[in-house]
């Protein structure tokens, strides 16, 4: 388990798997995917979970953690969707399924943990992720954490009747100041104290 300030990253629990149906059908999916909004049944969720488990058992290169608050509440996913071992390149994917945990530093704490894990344990050389222009929270987070905006795919996604650009953010290992520095700079400990 990866131990953070506000959250820990832990292996996916049964409790979190049961929340997947709710997390997939609520607004968090829309943000996590950059504009997809699908409605899925419990049976479809079960099939998807089985497929992921099978892919991982086949050795497909992905990593999936559950994000769990310090008081034991599963609130979302953080992981490496896709890892290329030759190029040591990891694409990150995340979701905070419980909207009341948005904007409180939980996602950022989880992000710092996975980036550190990628660089210091998996010997990844570059991490990147994609979001869309409508996701102001993630854009702000990327700036705060020090990712570089590397690309803008114009009008790549239609959401709420409007075309939005896709944004690609990347960070090279030499640009990573270390998790401790960022926890300090972003004031995550103060946030944790305030949460009591």
């Amino acid at each position: 388990m990866l131990c953070g300030v506000l959250v820990d990253l832990v292996p996916v629990s049964r409790q979190a798997r049961e929340l997947d149906h709710k997390w997939t059908n609520n607004e968090s999916s829309f943000w996590a995917s950059g504009g997809e909004w699908r409605f899925v049944t419990r049976a479809q969720i079960a099939a998807r979970q089985a497929r992921w488990a099978e892919e991982r058992s086949r050795g497909d290169l992905s990593v999936g953690f559950e994000i769990r608050t310090k008081d034991g509440q599963p609130i979302g996913w953080m992981g490496i969707n896709w890892l290329n071992p030759t190029h040591r390149l990891a694409m990150l994917g995340a979701k905070i399924g419980e909207p009341q945990y948005w904007g409180g530093g939980y996602g950022t704490d989880a992000l710092l943990l996975i980036v550190e894990y990628a660089f210091d344990w998996l010997d990844v050389r570059k991490v990147w992720l994609a979001t869309s222009t409508m996701n102001a929270r993630v854009i702000r987070q990327m700036e705060k954490v020090g990712f570089t905006l590397e690309g803008r795919q114009r009008q790549a996604t239609l959401a709420e009747g409007v075309w939005h650009d896709w944004l690609a953010y990347g960070m090279l290992r030499e640009e990573w100041p270390g998790r401790e520095t960022l926890v300090e700079r972003l004031g995550l400990r103060e946030k944790a104290v305030r949460r009591g």
Partner: protein
Amino acid sequence: MLLEGILVDLVPYGKRFTEQEHRWRNNESAFWARVGDRLPLSRASLERWRQEHAEHAAQRGRREIWFGIQTKDGTPIGDIALNRFWPHHRVAMLGAAIGEPEYWGGGYGTDALLLVVDYAFDWLDLRRLWLQTMGSNARVVRQMEKVGFTLEARLRQATYADGVWQDLLCYGLLREEWPGRAALVERLGLRPRG
């Protein structure tokens, strides 16, 4: 015949093409087409990959359209495909390889590209196309500029190839930026060979 060009035609990706595939996927063209991956592939692993890929796509409801590229005298020289369809965003990604190096730089790939773009916009009602290449792929970079794609992303040092870290470039084309195939054939001076 599916799509008729000036130097090439696009036809179904059938046995005449798959027979060449083992050679194509192991020569230098794979390195350029697969943005820096250069894996030795046995016939068996290629066959397995093809089967798994098809199953995977079917299972997830993913649509892909593969064309074989052949010259006017019927010689198979490569493939071009539309994949990663996003039906409601009307976006697809392009992928292509000219497996026979002697056909590089002669306009064959560009002719095939114009056919597929035309098909995507005028028949499939797509709205946006995009593709990726390596920073060192000067031929494709030039081709993108000529055809009018916009450089939308430079993913820094995203791929390790031939001993150096290279950027990955993403190019995109929106439908309203497409002047039409005929205009480009004219502008690029594509003419039938001898």
